[in-house]
C-alpha cells in the first residue's frame, strides 16, 4: 500500500495543504460575517459592510481555487493509485505459475482486478478527501471546546470516546462482512464468466434451465451476503448520531448547571453549541466513511492475496551445472509429479533425450503424456527428482532462456491479438488456408486453422527443443504432410518431442516412449509401441 502512495507523496502534501486552507476559509467566513454584523452594520456604516463583503468575496474566490485544486489532485491520486494497483495485480498474474490458474476461476480473478481495485479507488478518490476534511474540522472544533472550558469540553467529548471504542470493536466485524460479500461477488462473476464462455454448450444441450438455476442460487447467496455487508456498513451512522446528540444533551444539562452556579455565561453556552455541532457533524460523516474504509481494506486484502502469492516458480542459481553432459540433452531424473498434494500423476520417470532426434510419446488418454510435456517446458516443477537441460537444472533457466530453447505447442491452441499476423510473420506454404493471409481475423478461425498458426508460431522461433502435444490433431492429413515437411526443415540440432494418437505422425521417430499409469517406458520399435498400446490395460 505504501509503495502505491509513495510517488504521490508530494501531491498528497499539496492537496492536504489545500484541504486545510479550504477548511480554514470555510471556518473563517462565518467569523467575518459575524464581525460585519457586530461592527459596521450595528454602527450603521454601510461602507464598512461593503469592505467586509469584499473580503468575503476574496475568501470565497480563494476557496474556489483551493477547492478546485484539492478535488482535482485528490481525485487524480485515486485514479493513478488505481492504475498502478491494477497494473501491479496484472503483472503479478503474468508471473504466477500455471498451477495458480488451475486453482482460481477466471471470473474471480477479473473481479479482483476490477471490482476490488475499484473499492480501493472509491476510498481514495471520494472518501479520503472527505476523511481529511472532516478530520481537520473536527480537530479544530475540539481545540475550541477544550479551550473555552476544559471541564465542559471533556464532558462533551466523552460520548466521542464511547464512539471510538465502539468503532474499534465493530471494525473487524464490518471488514469481515465485506470480505465475505466480495468473495461471493467473485463467485458470481465466475459463474457468469464460465457460462458465457461455454454458451455454445448451454444452447446446444438446452442447459439453459441449469444455467438459470445455478445462477439464481449464487445470486441469492450473493444478495444475502451483500445485505449483511450493507447492514454492517450502515451500523455506525445511527450510533454516531446518537452519540453526537448525547453530546448536545451533556452540554445542555451540565452547561446550564454551570451557568446557574455562575461558572459560565449563557451567551457563551449558545456559542458552545455551535462548536459542538462543528465537532459532531463531521464525525457523523466519518461514520459512513469508516465503513467505506473497511470495505476498501477487505478489498485490498483480496488483491494482496494475489500480490503476495508466493507460488511462483523461482529461478535457481546456476551452480548445479554438470559439465560432462553433451549439449542439448534433456534428462528426467527420478521425476515424480502430482497436481495436488498426495496425487501421483508421474512417478520415477527417468529418460534422456539426445540432440537432434525425434521422440514420440504414445499411450492411452490420461496416462501422463501432457503432464510430461508440461514438465519439460517448466509449466510445473517436479515434486521429486529433477529435469536437466544441457546438464543444468531446468529450474536455473530464466524465463527468456527457457522460451528461447524450448518451444511447446499446446493441446488447446491459443492465439494472441486480433489477426493471424499478430502471431506469425509468415504463413509459408500454408497461405492458402487463410482467405486474407496474415490479415485474417482470429475470430472465426477453425480449430484446425488455429492449430496451424500455433504450429508455425512455435516453429518460427527455432527452438532447440520442440514439443508438439497433439498439435495437429484437428488438421487434415494433407496439411499435416506440409507441416511435417516444415518440421523436417528445422536444423539437425533440433530435438523434437511428438505426442500424438495418429500413428503416421510418429512413425519417423527415432525412439518411442510409452506413457501409461504415470510411468514412461522406452518401446523398442514401432511394432512394440503399437503392441503396448493394444494390450496394456488402460489405466484411465
Amino acid at each position: 500500500m505504501n509503495e502505491l502512495l509513495a510517488p504521490e507523496r508530494r501531491t498528497l502534501i499539496w492537496a492536504g495543504g489545500a484541504i486545510l486552507l479550504t477548511s480554514a476559509l470555510n471556518l473563517g467566513a462565518p467569523a467575518v460575517i459575524a464581525h460585519a454584523i457586530d461592527g459596521p452594520l450595528t454602527r450603521g456604516d454601510y461602507r464598512g459592510v461593503l469592505e467586509h463583503g469584499a473580503l468575503l468575496l476574496l475568501m470565497y474566490l480563494v476557496a474556489l481555487v483551493t477547492q478546485n485544486f484539492q478535488t482535482l489532485r485528490m481525485g487524480s491520486v485515486g485514479q493513478r493509485v488505481l492504475f498502478r494497483l491494477r497494473g501491479q495485480v496484472f503483472e503479478k498474474l503474468s508471473q504466477l505459475p500455471v498451477a495458480f490458474f488451475d486453482r482460481h476461476q477466471t471470473g474471480d480473478l477479473i473481479s479482483r482486478i476490477n471490482n476490488d481495485t475499484d473499492k480501493v479507488n472509491q476510498f481514495f478518490s471520494q472518501s479520503l478527501m472527505q476523511f481529511v476534511g472532516s478530520f481537520a474540522t473536527m480537530l479544530g472544533a475540539a481545540v475550541f471546546l477544550l479551550g473555552l472550558n476544559p471541564k465542559l469540553g471533556m464532558a462533551t467529548l466523552a460520548p466521542a470516546v464511547v464512539m471510538l471504542i465502539l468503532t474499534r470493536l465493530l471494525s473487524p466485524w464490518i471488514k469481515r462482512r465485506n470480505a465475505v460479500s466480495l468473495k461471493t461477488t467473485g463467485e458470481l462473476s465466475s459463474e457468469v464468466n464460465e457460462s458465457l464462455a461455454n454458451f455454445k454448450v448451454i444452447v446446444a444441450f438446452e442447459r439453459r434451465d441449469f444455467f438459470r438455476q445455478s445462477f439464481s442460487e449464487i445470486n441469492a447467496t450473493n444478495t444475502e451476503q451483500a445485505m449483511k455487508a450493507g447492514v454492517a456498513n450502515g451500523i455506525l451512522a445511527p450510533i454516531y448520531t446518537f452519540c453526537s446528540q448525547l453530546g448536545q444533551l451533556v452540554v445542555l444539562g451540565l452547561g446550564l448547571s454551570m451557568v446557574s452556579r455562575g461558572q459560565f455565561s449563557l451567551g457563551l453556552l449558545i456559542g458552545y453549541f455551535v462548536y459542538v455541532n462543528r465537532f459532531y457533524d463531521p464525525m457523523r460523516q466519518l461514520a459512513a466513511l469508516w465503513a467505506s474504509f473497511q470495505a476498501a481494506g477487505a478489498a485490498y486484502e483480496r488483491i494482496a492475496e494475489v500480490l503476495e502469492d508466493s507460488s511462483s516458480l523461482p529461478v535457481l542459481d546456476r551452480d548445479s551445472v554438470t559439465s560432462e553432459v553433451p549439449k542439448g540433452r534433456l534428462e528426467f531424473r527420478d521425476v515424480g509429479f502430482g497436481y495436488r498434494p498426495g496425487q501421483s500423476v508421474l512417478s520415477d520417470v527417468d529418460f534422456c533425450l539426445e540432440v537432434g532426434k525425434t521422440y514420440a510419446f504414445v499411450g492411452p488418454t490420461g496416462g501422463g503424456k501432457t503432464t510430461t510435456a508440461s514438465l519439460m517446458a517448466r509449466l510445473y516443477d517436479p515434486v521429486t527428482g529433477a529435469i536437466f537441460l544441457d546438464g543444468r537444472d531446468l529450474r536455473s533457466y530464466s524465463g527468456q532462456e527457457r522460451s528461447d530453447k524450448i518451444g511447446f505447442i499446446l493441446q488447446e491452441p491459443y492465439l494472441f491479438g486480433e489477426t493471424v499476423g499478430d502471431n506469425v510473420e509468415s504463413l509459408m506454404e500454408l497461405e492458402g488456408l487463410f482467405p486474407e493471409g496474415l490479415a485474417t481475423p482470429i475470430e472465426g478461425l477453425s480449430l484446425g486453422q488455429r492449430q496451424v498458426v500455433a504450429f508455425l508460431r512455435a516453429v518460427s522461433r527455432n527452438p532447440d527443443l520442440l514439443i508438439l502435444d497433439e498439435a495437429t490433431a484437428n488438421i487434415d492429413t494433407v496439411t499435416e504432410g506440409i507441416l511435417s515437411e516444415i518440421l523436417a526443415r528445422l536444423p539437425s540440432t533440433t530435438t523434437r518431442v511428438v505426442i500424438a494418437h495418429r500413428l503416421n505422425t510418429i512413425e519417423n521417430a527415432d525412439a518411442i516412449f510409452f506413457v501409461n499409469a504415470g510411468r514412461v517406458q522406452l518401446a523398442g520399435s514401432m511394432e512394440q509401441a503399437v503392441c503396448l498400446l493394444r494390450h496394456e490395460s488402460r489405466s484411465s
Binding site: T71, G87, S189, K200, V203, F205, V231, H501, N504
Partner: protein
C-alpha cells in the same frame, strides 16, 4: 402579512422548476422514467425508506428547538425541568431507532433490486441465441452483470432517499426564506437556478464520459480474461511483457477517461460551493442595506444566515449524488439494452420422438463478409451413419453448428423429419464439440445435463464413452470435482466426458465434431463399436480427419472450401473422387496399425 400570502408561491414554483430543468438538461428526463419503472415493484419498500428518512430527519430537527426551549425555560424559571431532558432523550432514541431501521430497509431494498435485476438479466441471457452472446461480447455482458448492476444498486441505496430529503429541506428552507423577507429571499434563491445550470452543464459533458469509462472497463475485462485463458502459452513463449503492454494500454485508457471525469467534477464542486457562498454575500450586502434602511431587523438577518446553511447542505447532497446518478443512468442504459434486445421466438419443443431424418437444403452461411458454406445439400437417413471429411477450414464445423441450430444459415434450410427446424427438436439432437468445455462442478453434474436420465441410460452412456472403468477408479467417482481449466482430466478424458454428456440425452441425431482426435486408436475403436451396439437407431454425422475410422459408414461427404465435392460410400468415392482418393492415400501408411 401581505408577504405571507404571496411568498409561498414563488418558492413552491422554484423547486419543481429547478428539478424539471435539471431533469431536462441532464437527460435525467430519459434516464429516470425507465429507472423509476424499474423501481415500481418496490414502491412499498421505497416508500418505507423515504418515510423513515424523512421522519428521522424531522425528528432530529426537533432537537435544536428543544435546546432553545431549554435555554428559554432556564432563563425564565431558573431551572431545567426533567421532562425536557426526558423528551430530549426520547427523541434521540427514536432518531437512532429510525435511522437504524432505515439502514436495514436500505440494505434490503437495494440488494433486492439488484438481485431481481441480475435475475432478470440472467433469464434474458439464458433465452438468447449463441450468436447474440458472440455479438454482444461476453466481456461486456460480464460488466453488465457486475459493475453495471452495482451502480444501479448504489442509486437505490444512496440517491433516492438522499434526493427526496434534500428536495424537502430545499423547499422548506426556501419557504422560510421567502416568508421572512420575500425580496431578500428571492435574491438569495437566484443562486439555486445558477447551481442547477452548473450541474446540468457538467453532467451533460460527463455523461458520455461515463459511457466511455464503462466501455474501458469492458476492454480491461477482455484483456485480463485473454491473458488468464492463455496463461500457459504466455509462459511458454515468455511473452509476459507483450501481455503487460496490452494491459497497460487498456489500463491507461480506463485511467484517462476517469481523470477527465475527475477534472469535470473538480470544476463543478467548487463552483457550486462558490455559488452557495455567494448567497451569504447577498445576505450580508443586500440584507445589510435593508437593515440600515430599516426594512429588516438584525435578528432576521441572523436567521437568514442560518436558513441559508440549511439550504446549502441539500444542494451539496445533490452535487455528490449527481456523480452516482450519471453513473447509474449509463449503467442502467447498458443493462436495459440487453433486456430490451429482441430474443429468438420461443419454440415449442417437439415431444414425440423423431425418426432421425435430416435434410440440409442449399445452406449458405457467412462469417462476417466471408462465405464459409456455399450451398450445402445433404440428406441423412434415419439411423444411418454419415461422415464429413475434408481439409482444414473447409467449413465442416460451421456445417455442424448450422445443423444443430447454433448458427442460423444465411439462406437455405435444415429440416428434421421433413418438417422440424433444429430448435424444435433441440432435445433430440446432441453435439460433441471439438473443444471439450467443462463446467466447474462434479464430474456427474458435467455429464448429467439431461434431467430425465435413469440408471440404465447412465450406464449405457458411460459404457459407450468408455468412462465406466475410469470413474470406478476415481476415489470420489462421479463426485470428483472438475473445474474450468482443471487438471483432473486429460484431453482425451474430457472428450469422452462430453460424449457421455451427449449420449445421456438419448438423442435421435448425434453430431460429432472430430471427437476422436484426442483418443488413442484402441479406445477410439471401442467407442465406435459401442455406439453401433448400444445406439443402433441413432442417426450419426461425424466430422473427422481419419478416413480409416469411417470406412464402413453409409455415406461419406467430401467437403472443400464450403462445398460438397463428392458423396457416397467409401468404395464409391474411391472410384469417383480423385481428391478423396488422394486424402485416403495420404493416410494409408498408418492404416496398418489402426
Amino acid at each position: 402579512m401581505e408577504d405571507f400570502h404571496f411568498s409561498p408561491f414563488p418558492s413552491l414554483c422554484w423547486a419543481p422548476l429547478k428539478l424539471k430543468t435539471l431533469a431536462r438538461d441532464t437527460g435525467l428526463h430519459y434516464g429516470y422514467s425507465p429507472m423509476l419503472a424499474l423501481l415500481r415493484p418496490y414502491r412499498g419498500w421505497i416508500l418505507a425508506l423515504l418515510v423513515l428518512g424523512l421522519v428521522s430527519n424531522a425528528a432530529s430537527l426537533i432537537l435544536p428547538s428543544l435546546i432553545g426551549q431549554g435555554i428559554n425555560l432556564f432563563t425564565s424559571h431558573e431551572g431545567l425541568p426533567d421532562f425536557l431532558l426526558a423528551e430530549f432523550l426520547t427523541t434521540t432514541m427514536v432518531v437512532g431507532l429510525l435511522s437504524s431501521l432505515q439502514n436495514l430497509v436500505q440494505a434490503y431494498t437495494s440488494e433486492k433490486v439488484a438481485r431481481d435485476l441480475r435475475g432478470e438479466l440472467s433469464e434474458k441471457v439464458s433465452r438468447q441465441s449463441y450468436t447474440f452472446i458472440l455479438e454482444r461480447d461476453p466481456a461486456r455482458l460480464l460488466t453488465n452483470f457486475t459493475s453495471d448492476i452495482d451502480n444501479v444498486k448504489l442509486f437505490v441505496s444512496q440517491v433516492i432517499s438522499g434526493l427526496l430529503s434534500s428536495a424537502v429541506v430545499l423547499v422548506g428552507a426556501s419557504i422560510l426564506l421567502v416568508r421572512l423577507n420575500w425580496k431578500l429571499g428571492l435574491a438569495v434563491l437566484t443562486i439555486v437556478p445558477l447551481i442547477a445550470v452548473t450541474f446540468a452543464l457538467v453532467l451533460r459533458r460527463v455523461r458520455p464520459l461515463f459511457k466511455q469509462a464503462t466501455a474501458a472497463l469492458d476492454g480491461l475485462n477482455k484483456v485480463i480474461e485473454k491473458s488468464i485463458v492463455g496463461a500457459a502459452l504466455v509462459r511458454v513463449l515468455n511473452s509476459q511483457e507483450q501481455e503487460n503492454a496490452k494491459f497497460s494500454v487498456a489500463n491507461r485508457n480506463a485511467r484517462d477517461v476517469r481523470l477527465t471525469i475527475v477534472k469535470n467534477f473538480s470544476l463543478m464542486i467548487p463552483v457550486v460551493v462558490f455559488l452557495s457562498n455567494a448567497g451569504s454575500l447577498i445576505i450580508l450586502l443586500l440584507g445589510g442595506r435593508y437593515v440600515l434602511d430599516g426594512f429588516m431587523t438584525l435578528g432576521d438577518l441572523a436567521a437568514f444566515n442560518s436558513y441559508l446553511a440549511l439550504l446549502i447542505f441539500p444542494i451539496f447532497v445533490v452535487g455528490f449524488m449527481s456523480n452516482l446518478i450519471a453513473q447509474a443512468q449509463t449503467s442502467y442504459g447498458r443493462v436495459r439494452e440487453v433486456l430490451d434486445s429482441p430474443e429468438p421466438e420461443p419454440v415449442q419443443l417437439v415431444s414425440e420422438p423423431i425418426e432421425g431424418r435430416v435434410e440440409v437444403c442449399d445452406v449458405h452461411f457467412s462469417y462476417g463478409e466471408k462465405e464459409v458454406l456455399k450451398g450445402i445439400t445433404l440428406e441423412l437417413k434415419p439411423g444411418s451413419r454419415n461422415a464429413v471429411v475434408g481439409p482444414t477450414a473447409a467449413g465442416k464445423s460451421q456445417l455442424l453448428m448450422v445443423m444443430s441450430g447454433l448458427l442460423p444459415p444465411s439462406s437455405g434450410t435444415v429440416r428434421y423429419d421433413e418438417r422440424y427446424k433444429p430448435s424444435q427438436v433441440a432435445r433430440q439432437i446432441a453435439t460433441v464439440f471439438q473443444e471439450s468445455a467443462l463446467f466447474r462442478g462434479t464430474l456427474g453434474e458435467n455429464i448429467a445435463f439431461s434431467p430425465r436420465a435413469d440408471t440404465e441410460a447412465w450406464e449405457k452412456a458411460m459404457e459407450t464413452a468408455e468412462l465406466a472403468d475410469f470413474v470406478k477408479k476415481l476415489p470420489d467417482g462421479l463426485d470428483t470435482l472438475v473445474s474450468e481449466r482443471g487438471t483432473t482430466l486429460s484431453g482425451g478424458q474430457k472428450q469422452r466426458v462430453t460424449l457421455a454428456r451427449a449420449l445421456l440425452m438419448e438423442p435421435k441425431v448425434l453430431l460429432l465434431d472430430d471427437f476422436t482426435a484426442r483418443l488413442d486408436p484402441t479406445t477410439e475403436a471401442r467407442v465406435r463399436k459401442n455406439l453401433v451396439t448400444n445406439y443402433p437407431e441413432m442417426t450419426i454425422l461425424a466430422v473427422t480427419q481419419r478416413i480409416a475410422t469411417i470406412l464402413d459408414f453409409d455415406q461419406i461427404a467430401l467437403m472443400m472450401e464450403g462445398r460438397i465435392l463428392a458423396q457416397g460410400t467409401h468404395q464409391e468415392l474411391l472410384s469417383t473422387s480423385p481428391e478423396y482418393a488422394q486424402i485416403y492415400d495420404s493416410q494409408k501408411s498408418t492404416h496398418q496399425y489402426e
